[in-house]
Symmetry: C2
Subunit: 623 residues, 2 copies
């Protein structure tokens, strides 16, 4: 099974074409300015400047986090996805300039990492736990592969291969022992293997995976060396499970530690299991995926509940107001889900993929493309956030940029790569995994999925094949022509030639509860339409939102919101609000609650915070 690549797919979908264009025309040019430190009143980036210093073009000092290089790499990757779809000379020329600079920053032996090159050239590979060299190398490789596929230009691919070859010379059996503190190199090496067919890259990825959690922990060894200096002093207290080194990867069973690290590691495990047909590793992936999605995932597709360590905590610990739920972690969950699909073809992997995409990931970027959320809470009371330092990570408004800015460029690369996740081929079988208006042309196959609201016309031209349309979890597929179902897919036996199939995909509105062990959601309800989770904002409702009461059998009407995409209706129902009148100076009382009937208005979670600072709440109290 393989996805139909981006270059063969054309998006034509009201909402997603708008998102794609927003990233291409607004976000990526804006980020280029940011990376070059040309945006006023935004956090300083210094990313390009660091490359200039390493390249000998500037004599400034290194500034920024140790893994800042990846901002540029992820930006190039995102630009590449845009270029795969349509040529954009300006973006391509920015990229070529950046690649020239990267080439100059690469050291004679192939090493490439501006932090170590500038700050500590004699400390290469001495701090794999925190140093992020292998993480940066991974993003370099991903960018190089993407740019090569998009443009056919191989300068960056050669740069990345030189570095990968150096890494291969350095680490492995009978060489230096090692694995990264922040996984990423593994999945990147597998992509490099897929494009170059050079098996040593797959083997090196396998080495990093197989060495992890086996024998003496190399991070412990590093930290106990006499001359060791912590880059992130807090990490001194982190245990092996924070870095997913608590056990060999095939024995790990619970998603643990830093959520992005975990997701990237599990991605590589799934890739490697698929390519090497390793049933034990596949089982471990399934275990970790199930634990992530059925024990430790917010209903918004967010993962990693705790700010301290940006990490997974324990099963069912999903606090709403102090949630971390980093945008990048949900991007990681999308990447993991799509790889799990390649591994086992289960349609539920795509339910999770969409749950992350339509909620936490989409929430990460404001409608203007200039503002971003790093942290994605499920409940916000601005007055509380302002005064409770335990919530200092929560922002009530999207920010222009961050000092650690992993999320915006990561958003850019995932949102521009969406078309590459819609279709997959398995021999003569075609999968339509996500119902986005789009078309594909590949070999003798032509597919057009024309979308008008909830109505779809699927045109297929080409030889006979089985077409599997995924049924999204919370939608109804209605069609006179398509009836056969199998494991969550609607099946069309396309006899060959050109044929049209019509269907409607009607998002259902349903009220969700959480598992009884989720303390933060006990007695609470949340509303989902299709894959979209809804929330209440103060601007549409009364403050405090904690006083709202939603009947368990509420029926919702859908209203077009003038500020929202067409396929994102506002939901309205009649519920209640606890009257605050009788409370006056009371804080606790045994008096009966007085309920006032009140209209409750909900908007898609991903769209909160676009109309000024105000209260927001996903889980509403049941009445």
């Amino acid at each position: 099974m393989e996805f139909v690549p981006l270059a063969d797919v054309k998006l034509d979908d009201a909402m997603w074409s708008r998102q794609f264009a927003l990233v291409r025309d607004v976000v990526l040019p804006y980020m280029w300015e940011i990376l070059n430190d040309r945006i006023e009143n935004a956090e300083k980036s210094h990313c390009i400047e660091n490359f200039k210093i390493a390249a000998g073009r500037s004599s400034d000092r290194y500034y920024g986090v140790v893994f800042l290089d990846t901002d540029l790499y992820k930006w190039i990757e995102a630009v590449s996805y845009c270029l795969s779809v349509e040529k954009k000379d300006e973006l391509e020329s920015f990229c070529d300039a950046a690649i020239k600079l990267i080439a100059e920053a690469q050291q004679p032996d192939g090493y490439l990492d501006t932090y170590y090159t500038i700050v500590a050239p004699d400390k290469r590979w001495s701090n794999l736990m925190e140093g992020h060299e292998l993480y940066c190398a991974g993003h370099l490789i991903e960018a190089a592969v993407a740019y090569y596929k998009a443009t056919g230009k191989d300068t960056l691919l050669k740069i990345s291969r030189r570095f990968a070859d150096l890494i291969d010379l350095t680490f492995g059996p009978n060489k230096r022992r090692g694995y990264p503190g922040h996984p990423e190199i593994e999945l990147a090496l597998i992509r490099l293997y897929e494009v170059t067919k050079e098996k040593k890259y797959l083997d090196l990825a396998g080495y990093f995976l197989n060495e992890r959690g086996v024998g003496e922990n190399i991070f412990t060894e590093e930290c106990t060396k006499e001359d060791h200096a912590f880059i992130f002093p807090d990490m001194a207290h982190f245990k092996a499970d924070y870095f997913q080194t608590q056990a060999p990867v095939r024995e790990q069973c619970c998603a643990s530690g830093h959520a992005v690290r975990a997701m990237y590691l599990y991605c590589a495990m799934a890739d490697y299991a698929r390519l090497t047909h390793d049933p034990e590793l596949e089982k471990a992936c399934l275990r970790l995926y199930e634990n992530t999605t059925s024990r430790q995932m917010y209903v918004t597709g967010g993962v990693g509940a705790a700010k301290l360590g940006e990490r997974f905590t324990s099963d069912f610990d999903l606090p709403a107001d102090s949630a971390y739920a980093e945008t990048c972690a949900s991007i990681g969950l999308m990447l993991f889900s799509s790889r799990m699909w390649l591994l086992n073809g289960k349609k539920s992997n795509y339910d999770i993929w969409e749950q992350a995409l339509y909620n936490t990931v989409l929430s990460g970027m404001g409608r203007d493309g200039h503002h971003f959320f790093y942290v994605n809470p499920l409940e916000v009371v601005p007055q509380t956030v302002a005064h409770n330092p335990m919530l200092s990570h929560v922002k009530t408004q999207r920010q222009k940029w961050f000092s650690v800015a992993c999320c915006p460029p990561n958003l850019a690369r995932i949102l521009t790569s969406i078309p590459g996740y819609i279709y997959a081929l398995d021999g003569d079988r075609l999968y339509i995994l996500s119902h986005l208006g789009s078309s594909l042309k590949k070999g003798g196959l032509y597919v057009n999925l024309a979308r008008k609201g909830d109505d779809y016309t699927l045109t297929i031209d080409g030889g006979p094949r089985e077409v599997c349309l995924r049924l999204p979890e919370n939608s109804k597929l209605i069609s006179d022509q398509i009836a056969a179902q199998d494991d969550g897919y609607f099946i069309i036996q396309h006899a060959g030639g050109k044929q049209e199939y019509s269907y409607s995909l009607i998002p259902q509105v349903r009220i969700l509860k959480a598992h009884p062990s989720v303390s933060a959601a006990a007695g609470k309800l949340c509303v989902q339409r299709g894959e979209t989770i809804y929330c209440a904002e103060q601007i549409d409702n009364a403050s405090p939102l904690s006083a709202l009461r939603l009947p368990g059998d509420a029926v919702f009407s859908e209203v077009k919101g003038d500020w929202l995409d067409e396929n994102m209706p506002i939901l309205k129902t009649v519920g209640y609000s606890v009257s605050v009148k009788s409370w006056d100076q009371l804080l606790y009382s045994s008096q009966s609650c007085v309920y006032e009937s009140r209209e409750i208005t909900l908007i898609p979670y991903s769209q909160w915070g676009n109309r000024g600072e105000n209260e927001m709440r996903v889980w509403l109290t049941e009445k």
Copy 2:
């Protein structure tokens, strides 16, 4: 109005006599061993050792927090309260030895603070924000006054006066500007004034109060000096409201900042307003008291919601699982409440006093007298606490000692001083404020309040007087003899001579809700019997406790608990539990909840965690 002092009151109350004896016979001797570093496997104290170093008896190095001296002072104060009631030669000899040591540690000019004497003798008074010298002086004075009142011995009183005199020479108009980062000196100076009648101490207290928040903030001045070094580096980020210096004290309206600091400051404000008849200051006290108790107080009488800064946050922000609610802050709330009573005689002040005492304060100490809670959450899931670093301050079991051990000795001094808060006199009027079995003998007045469970026999012998019995908020007073009521007091017109009055005080069980703005309690109920808040522990109920559902009209039966005090029944009712059976690997679902009928067992919150580690929960979800 004044309280009948401890020395004139004799406690004879099943539960409180046990508590008093526990502190006197177990806690205080144990603490003496702790202060002398003679308890194995407990956090090192080093308190006495620091005094030995300052006294020249040891050449060790200072160890411990900057305000460690107060552990000894608070211990002496607690011992004094025991000695006021009954002579205990061993405790008194420990005290005398300690006082001898303190005398030796005092500097020739009267200065007394082991940290500065040992570590930074040239830095005296240079860091009022963090240095705690005035805070330590305050606790020294409180100990000295208590020991003098208990024993008549004035050595420590003289030591404390010498230090107070030095402070008076140092600070004031036309002297050095100053006020403490951690209030305490102010209320202590007022106590010193009350025992010595020396008005300069009252005036100095007034100076510290009146200077606070006026003009240039002296802490800002300190921190911006070139040679300034932070003792607590986090404090660099704290704003004026953290130290209650954001405005002149008469203009402050919301309880803010570090909760213990706030409480101690407000205590002094109330004392000073009462002694100087300052209506503007009285109004400020009332405002701050109302904000504290009707906007920022946990139902358990805990205050200060956030771990970071141990501080107040904002109105209605009262998270259950991450609550800080420091034991010392609730002790401070008791002190503030009793002073508010002296100021305005409102019986509701004592409702709060009891709410703090019977819940958070009592929870602070284990039934063995050897284990203590510093932090008092309203919800604990041990697995979550173990894995979520945002909850690292929460302990699921009481600890032997703490590296910052303010709470245990503070508990000792409040629990031993309880008899001094039961009765008050206002001319010929006698107040009985808390219905503890006890007697008092003062001048020609003899009162005996004999208690048998909920039944009381009040014997009064002496001249004619009005006796006012406070009606606790959640109890019924039943009597054939006492009927007249006024503002929450039952009134007896005692005609003189010896007379018996009988009444019963029946604690009511009621179900409380929180103000609709308290997000953490939306849709939740908690159970209160008399002044006692109840909680569910896993050992008596099913796990997860988040699955329990309490009907809003639940009726409770009271059952004697063999491990609990007689007046602390266990409460039982029939409620529900959400079945987890149908959830299996589901995390979110629109399925109907299946409710199983189930007995719900509740115990007093103060007694949780005495039977091993397990889940605990105060707020139960309503059904």
